[in-house]
Assembly symmetry: C2
Homo-oligomer: 198 residues x 2
């Protein structure tokens, strides 16, 4: 049976087919563009719920989304479960009260870091280190999708990492789905073939 | 009777007393730091509700928060009223799909711009112009607080602007409140005196 979350992500065009340049400089025939989820409040709520269910009984005092796409996810989780949020500013302000982590927290509190997709894990580490510098403890990271490019393993050297979906789970599911175009299935098969050859 | 929203904003320390340098370069004995609201989900929900009530029957297709503090407010309003959100990126990405406005929209749609506090109006204009370049129509802006420094009038040359509270409403209310420290009331009175002399 299809996972309705995967169906929704596909239908709004989160999984794109073509030729894309990744942050790492590599090219890929698949691109995961989760930024579109901000325009689907119901989907945002579903994502937040699935993350919450994945976290089970893990405890934390505050949540922080990695800018930008994970900010609305973190906000939704914060609102739904009444957990304070903090935000990391990407650029520091040079006026008013100077802080790189905004919001109310006390040093020593546990902060859950929320990300949309883990590729290399670089953005998560950058955000987590900034939070740690502000005195927060980071032990747990949750992301919607593991792109399976080593980022999760990289993060696991330091944090417990949960992901709701992996790219291969998504792709295997799409290969079985009626609504996926044959040309796209070919790209997926090719992608999986190349990955398994690596 | 005290407006419970003003009480909450005061109690979490949104209104700060001291000497602050504003973005404009001026100094002020009062600083409005709304960034703290992100750590109070209930308050975030109240703010979103008050904005919604202020908007009455104004219609729009999408909402956009001015980075950063208004992003969680926009997300909350989007979630509560099932209205798609778009986000303006402050820095453009040079990989993947290049866009300065993220999310799903069609040119010609009406976009409500959401801000936390209007000072000069500069950040709102910057965001609104970026949205307009992407084909969205902006006719309406809503902010929680009008700092009464000319920004609202400035914006009204081009947009309809609603605000939930004005700085003088907040200050007059705090002057009547038992819970405000006498030293702070003195600062408020001095501030109001200087303003009226301008």
């Amino acid at each position: 049976m299809q996972d309705s979350l995967i169906t929704s992500l596909y239908q709004i065009g989160v999984i794109q087919f073509g030729e894309f340049q990744l942050k790492s400089g590599q090219t890929s025939s698949l691109y995961i563009n989760l930024r579109k989820i901000i325009s689907y409040p119901d989907l945002l709520r579903t994502i937040s719920k699935r993350m919450w269910d994945t976290l089970k009984d893990h405890r934390f005092d505050v949540v922080c989304g990695v800018p930008y796409t994970a900010l609305p996810i973190a906000t939704c989780l914060s609102l739904e479960h009444n957990i304070p949020m903090v935000m990391r500013r990407k650029e520091k302000k040079d006026y008013g009260t100077k802080q790189s982590v905004e919001g109310v927290f006390t040093p020593g509190q546990q902060c859950l870091v929320i990300e949309d997709v883990i590729t290399t894990g670089g953005s998560i580490i950058e955000t987590a280190e900034e939070l740690e510098k502000s005195g927060l403890n980071i032990s747990h990271v949750i992301a919607l999708i593991d792109r399976e490019q080593g980022g999760k393993q990289n993060l696991e050297k330091k944090y417990t990492v949960d992901t709701v979906l992996s790219l291969s789970t998504i792709l295997q599911s799409l290969l079985q789905a009626d609504f996926v175009k044959p040309a796209e299935k070919t790209i997926i098969e090719q992608y999986l073939l190349e990955r398994s050859a690596q």
